[in-house]
Point group: C3
Chain length 343, copies 3
């Protein structure tokens, strides 16, 4: 990371903050943790447990919560904000645009945009992309190399498709959606009829609808529905290598960590959080705000607000208590054998 960011540029994105100490610091070269920061770096106190590191940090600029007690050193500047981590994110977006500048507007000459595709003016389409007839690409969309957008698919404004994304026919993305590299949206659902001892494919005629501000991690797969739609709700964030089956409905603002598997026709209400590698059997309902621990196996409906762990999944507290008791099983069996002898 090698940048040149001035204090003035930072104050543009953090307009109403209070400076303490040296207001001539900068330009800044990078961002680092409190401990590793050198002179010229920006650091921040995101987690109170590191507050002891602030006063010894060599960072030239430190973002702090308003209630932090302490003063900057010479040639150091403190900025107090409501949420230092978010303030840093705002600064980092400026840095991001420098380190990873958007490619120039326009459609790369190697790409294939079929007649009948509707592409807004202000888009970027990288090399070797294939946009089929009937597809609609909104304004401000950025499409990296090797992307496929199928017939009648829709890509909302400001959405980003990273390299090698496959958005299959008739699937729809909202605005500001991010599909990371290798994501597949709209593959055929896994459903078969048994006919004369053979598995006969059930056609999947539906689509996938992804609402505004959803992000999907690299190489994640989302299958199209049988008739209506597979739907991912607004603001939901899905990590890498996740499997989402046909007809699944995910609510708004859910978090689904890497390698989770969600079987066909599962329904998540809003604000569900799922740890990595957890799995869901088909046709379940998961209530609003439920939390599922990593690697859990869910085979029944989940009540709103519950927190489950294990396979079979139990309430988190019970699962933890049983885990403790399991470690005592060798002792229990021994004590029991002793007791049997004496009884």
């Amino acid at each position: 990371m090698s940048i040149e960011l001035t204090l003035g540029e930072i104050l543009k994105v953090l307009p109403e903050v209070h400076l303490e100490g040296d207001n001539q610091v900068g330009p800044f070269r990078g961002v680092a943790t409190l401990e590793k920061a050198q002179s010229g770096d920006i650091a921040f106190l995101g987690n109170p447990k590191y507050k002891g590191q602030v006063l010894s940090s060599r960072a030239s600029l430190v973002l702090l919560p308003r209630n932090f007690v302490g003063f900057p050193r010479d040639n150091q500047c403190f900025i107090r904000v409501e949420e230092p981590s978010y303030a840093l994110a705002l600064i980092c977006r400026v840095i991001e645009e420098r380190l990873f500048p958007p490619p120039p507007l326009g459609i790369h000459s190697s790409s294939c945009v079929e007649n009948g595709a509707m592409v807004a003016d202000s888009v970027t389409i990288g090399p070797f992309c294939h946009i089929e007839s009937g597809a609609e690409i909104g304004s401000g969309v950025r499409i990296a190399s090797h992307v496929h957008v199928g017939a009648f698919a829709k890509v909302g404004a400001e959405t980003r498709l990273f390299n090698g994304v496959k958005l299959l026919s008739r699937c729809e993305l909202g605005e500001r959606v991010i599909l990371n590299a290798g994501v597949v949206v709209g593959s055929e659902g896994y459903g078969f009829d048994q006919v004369s001892g053979r598995h006969e494919k059930i056609p999947h005629l539906g689509k996938v609808v992804i609402e505004d501000d959803v992000e999907i991690g690299a190489n994640t797969c989302i299958d199209r529905s049988r008739f209506a739609e597979t739907r991912i709700g607004e603001g939901t964030k899905i990590d890498n290598l996740v499997q989402i089956g046909h007809n699944v409905r995910i609510g708004k603002r859910c978090l689904v960590v890497a390698q989770v598997g969600i079987s066909g026709s599962v329904s998540f209400e809003d604000d569900v959080i799922v740890g990595g590698q957890a799995g869901f059997a088909g046709h379940l309902n998961v209530g609003k705000g439920a939390k599922i621990a990593a690697q859990a196996g869910i085979t029944k409906n989940v009540e709103a607000g519950s927190f489950l762990k294990g396979n079979p999944a139990l309430s988190y507290d019970l699962a933890q208590r049983i885990a403790v008791l399991q470690r005592k099983l060798p002792d229990l069996f021994k004590r029991f054998a002793d007791l049997e002898k004496t009884s």
Copy 2:
């Protein structure tokens, strides 16, 4: 979904059925569940548990099992068949060809077919495909965009390769195979020798052979063998994001659900069913018709016909019973402590 399908077109794919009620219904606009169907829709009774919804359904056409008792309403038509779900699938294939029409025959001008590749006349090869020398592409094959077919690979008649599939050198696909988007067939197996404290790669000289009527889900990976072949048997259906190691042999008509991991040299006999996220240690044999529950961890050979669950895997019934008893451990420990006191 927006289609216009006439009763006549339906009767062409369901030739020997009996109509009841209004034989002037249609054209039909879509397919829906009994409950959600509107006038103009086709619905079906696939699961007897929904039979109570038939007589109140607003669907214009309902596919029913022969033994259903009841009569259509005005402007409604019933069709009785042996298997309503399969009859629907036959109708849906007609709809599918309209919603997702095959691209025109021929090789897209942007694609790169090397000298020495053998491509049948009636194939479709989309944009940005790379077909290496010595590859053989059979008649009726449909290849979507961004597909790689390696040297001396074979693709049987009527097989479909979706976007971004990588079929590596010397691997062979039978007829009517479907590889969904992002599938990798023929990557190098994961095998190393320890030499002077380093992991030295073991070359993998074999191939992957996929028999007729196999389907493979999006982003699934199948490694080539060390010498002979990794083989997937006829009619087997594999879901998304599955890992199949080198030298694995999967029998005929197996079902392997998403995110399953199968280590090197495992052998499945025919008709094995594996739930999502289950894993298999290397070199195991899984007997004919065995069923493995989701998330199970299999470390020993599996007898034909058995049904296993858990890690370490136990018979399904024992695993369920132990799960119940585990929930009673807190109570058992307490009762035991009481008993010790009184003894």
Copy 3:
């Protein structure tokens, strides 16, 4: 597999070995197991448990450990070496170059190498590749079709990128690295701040650094770091469909089997071995030489040299013992009920 390899060609890669029996055997057609080998095949004794198969094997050439007792038959040759499996690997590399010959040097005419990319002379870049400005490609690098190398990414000498690899901006690969088909290196980390009830993306400004001699399996994903780097140590081998989160550090010579998930900021010391589908919660340290069984769930730091299993993970021996006792729970509950009655 169809090759023609002479004994002389074999002796070139195994220079100091001792021949017994017929030194006129060959040319050889293939490699097979002792049991399946036919006349004209090469076989080897890698695992002592198969030594009983040597003297009945029809292989024309057998690689054996020095201490094997027995003599070749007519028309058969034995070669004794320190490590038969590694000797075979050396032979197989010769075969590999014949079965999978490297494509011709040079940049395929369909590929897009941007101005400002630095590409060494002796590289192979296949069709439909995109090399962005500022990228550096070292000598002897082989890049297959549909690969993306982002701006300012570095690819060390002799490294191989298989089909459809996405190496995103500013990420760095050492020498002799292998990225199998579909690998994504440098996708954005999964990190969000909660701001006014929304998940606000945390920019990820860092990179991924992959050291020399690392191999990464098909469709595996490695996220870029928040500030500094995600790093994979020299000689580490990672299997297919693995998830490696942002800021992870993997030591040297580690083995990570398929479908493992490693959350953000986890740190592995050297020589760690992880079985398939195991998962790691964030910010953990895993000590040197630790072994983690397949499907384990790791939620605490792991001591050097330990061997863990299960979720929650226990020492392997304790986990095995508890597994045995769990199977006895039905009996224990019954005996306990009897004892309660009699007390």
